[in-house]
Subunit: 161 residues, 2 copies
DNA sequence: ATTTATGCAAATCGTTTGCAAACCT
DNA sequence: AGGTTTGCAAACGATTTGCATAAAT
């Protein structure tokens, strides 16, 4: 039941994608939701993208998708823990696969000029040190912390002058 | 170390606030902008608030202000470096005084339930360690980094269950 | 057969903008 | 005077929603 990604160039479906779909299906089922072809297409697109995608980018990359359904399905996928919402300073919400599905904890370099988002990660010792501080902060403030977000805002190579 | 004494909504100008207004005036002038009473009122409100404010909150706190002017002036104050824009996961943009005006580098605890934002800070050793990593990342990626943002997303005491 | 998802178009709502009057300097 | 800022109302645009049809179980 495999769907070949229908886009321009090197969109090669990797072997490991099956597990991804299986995991997505499990999470949706847990939420009493179906893993429809539209949702599957979204997961496929996000898995293939090198950075978080806006809804506009999603629509550009896949002819068959409709705007309203994309919004609805991204919301559902987010609620099911399949997708993460990425907020930047511009007016477009972006989406990426949930970190615990990809197993790749990372952060974002956000260009204040063009809005481009690029991934990066930091040494695990630093992550651990941060997590420890966060636990303290949460405890003192009565918050229960779900996750953290650490972004760098700056100017990409293109946008510097 | 500045002490922020205001809490109620009185039109009382506090002693230490003078420096703040002076600094704001300098930055606006540098941008060929005037420090009008509306802009002054915004700085006053943000200085008195214990957390970043939405436009709605600003309007609630000061009768004389108009929505469109508040938006326009916050944009101008941001461009002049007097105010920082705080982006969370909800649909409201928030604003706070620029960190280098208050001299208080901090981060945000964001409640995923009600959108409340609470400030916190981390040990300076951790900030330094982060800054060092960020310099490397920026260098490798061709970005010039302006600032970073590190938030905790979770559930406040009220919103847990 | 019944529930759930989709597509289209219309509505929503935070934010932006056009324009004439009020405000500096 | 000459340029800016303001207030009001209208416009904008990303996202949401109502509803009839199509798909899934």
């Amino acid at each position: 039941m495999r769907r070949m990604a229908a886009n321009t160039a090197s969109a090669h479906v990797i072997g490991g994608t099956e597990d991804l779909h299986a995991a997505a299906a499990v999470r949706l089922t847990r939420d009493h939701q179906r893993y429809t072809s539209g949702r599957r297409a979204l997961v496929e697109l996000l898995a293939a993208a090198p950075h978080p995608l806006t809804v506009v980018e999603v629509l550009e990359r896949h002819e068959g998708l409709t705007q309203s359904s994309v919004y609805r399905n991204l919301t559902i996928l987010e609620a099911a823990g399949v997708v993460d919402r990425v907020v930047t300073d511009d007016e477009f919400t972006r989406f990426e696969l949930a970190e615990d599905l990809t197993g790749h904890h990372h952060h974002h370099l956000i260009c204040a000029g063009c809005g481009t988002v690029k991934d990066f990660s930091v040494p695990s010792e630093l992550e651990s040190a941060m997590d420890e501080v966060f636990r303290d902060v949460a405890h003192q403030s009565g918050f229960s912390v779900g996750h953290h977000r650490m972004d760098l805002i700056g100017w990409c190579a293109n946008c510097q002058q």
